[in-house]
């Protein structure tokens, strides 16, 4: 890696550490869910009923780290922030690792 690339890697690391801003600010400003990403329960409150297909959707996949945390919704803000940083590091490492692996595979086929 060049010196500039190493610097960029440090910037990415800094982003991971700062990531909890992405849950702190929405909570502070009472911002609610992203449009179209409501839970089936929330949709039920909004409409008075839960669309049948939508109700089934929630159980399709059990993510190992749901919503970037293993702490659950009642977790303290500090623990939520730590889970979020851990998720950022794990996710970024997985992304870089997978794409690096794919590039190596493609490079191998090229020769």
């Amino acid at each position: 890696m060049s010196a500039f690339q190493k610097k960029l890697a440090c910037v990415l690391l800094a982003l991971a550490v700062l990531a909890p801003l992405g849950i702190y600010l929405p909570a502070k400003f009472n911002a609610g869910d992203a449009w179209g990403e409501w839970s089936a329960k929330k949709i039920g409150e909004m409409l008075g009923f839960v669309p049948a297909g939508l109700a089934k959707g929630e159980g399709v996949w059990k993510a190992p780290v749901p919503d970037y945390s293993l702490g659950g919704e009642d977790d303290t803000p500090a623990r939520q922030a730590l889970w979020y940083i851990a998720s950022a590091l794990i996710g970024a490492a997985l992304c870089a690792g997978v794409f690096y692996g794919v590039s190596r595979l493609l490079a191998g086929k090229k020769r």
Partner: protein
């Protein structure tokens, strides 16, 4: 903009899977053709950057949240085809590991954020930049590529949400996403036009300027013609 499971009917998500698979196969072929040893670290970092920047949820006070995607700047630096692959990797990991975006909606989400967005961004940049551009023109082109790139992705998602009540209802009740085009498009496109796409535009401009200062030879959108 990560459509969850249950929001799209199979009539919607299956064709989008097929479309996305076609683009992804072409993207991997292009990445292979253009692969250079000195750029390999950038590929991994692009996917990681895309993942990280999406964790920064931006609030609309009392309303909703959204975030930048990073697909526009990746398209400008590494080219739109590489961006297709990098952004898809991030979105697929978000869905499987973190439950952000549905598994059934991977095709739709990748189509919106990893296909529509980088190609719109690259096209807008080339259009606004013109020939022999100065630094201000390049900054403007970069801002607009991020601004309109993310907005185009939001529009695509809004159309996918909005057609659900039309194509999948039973006894007058929607089976999947409940709001029609007349609600989904103003909500999704509006919130992006006034906040989230501006963030994407500024991010695209700042990162591009940073690259032009430090490693200008790596910027695909400005040097592709000369290769």
């Amino acid at each position: 903009m990560h459509i969850p499971d249950g929001y799209l009917s199979p009539q919607t998500y299956l064709p989008l899977f097929v479309a996305f698979a076609g683009f992804m196969a072409a993207a991997l072929r292009k990445v292979k053709e253009g692969l250079q040893a000195k750029n390999v670290p950038y590929l991994g970092m692009a996917a990681a950057f895309c993942f990280l920047i999406q964790m920064f949820n931006i609030p609309i006070p009392g309303g909703t949240t959204g975030h930048a995607v990073g697909a526009a700047i990746i398209a400008l630096i590494l080219g739109p085809w590489t961006a297709v692959a990098a952004v898809s990797v991030a979105l697929i990991i978000q869905a499987f590991v973190f439950g952000d975006g549905g598994i059934t909606a991977i095709g739709a989400n990748c189509f919106n954020m990893a296909v529509v967005m980088p190609f719109t961004a690259a096209w807008i940049f080339a259009l606004v930049k013109g020939r022999a551009p100065g630094p201000r023109r390049i900054s403007l082109a970069a801002f607009l590529s991020g601004y309109l790139g993310l907005t185009a992705a939001a529009l695509a998602a809004a159309v996918e949400f909005g057609i659900q009540p039309l194509i999948a209802s039973e006894g007058g009740r929607p089976l999947y996403a409940p709001y029609g085009l007349e609600i989904a498009i103003p909500a999704m496109v509006g919130e992006h036009l006034v906040i989230f796409s501006i963030v994407e535009g500024v991010l695209t401009m700042l990162v591009l300027r940073y690259f032009l200062k430090n490693d200008p030879g790596a910027v695909y959108a400005l040097y592709e013609e000369g290769r």
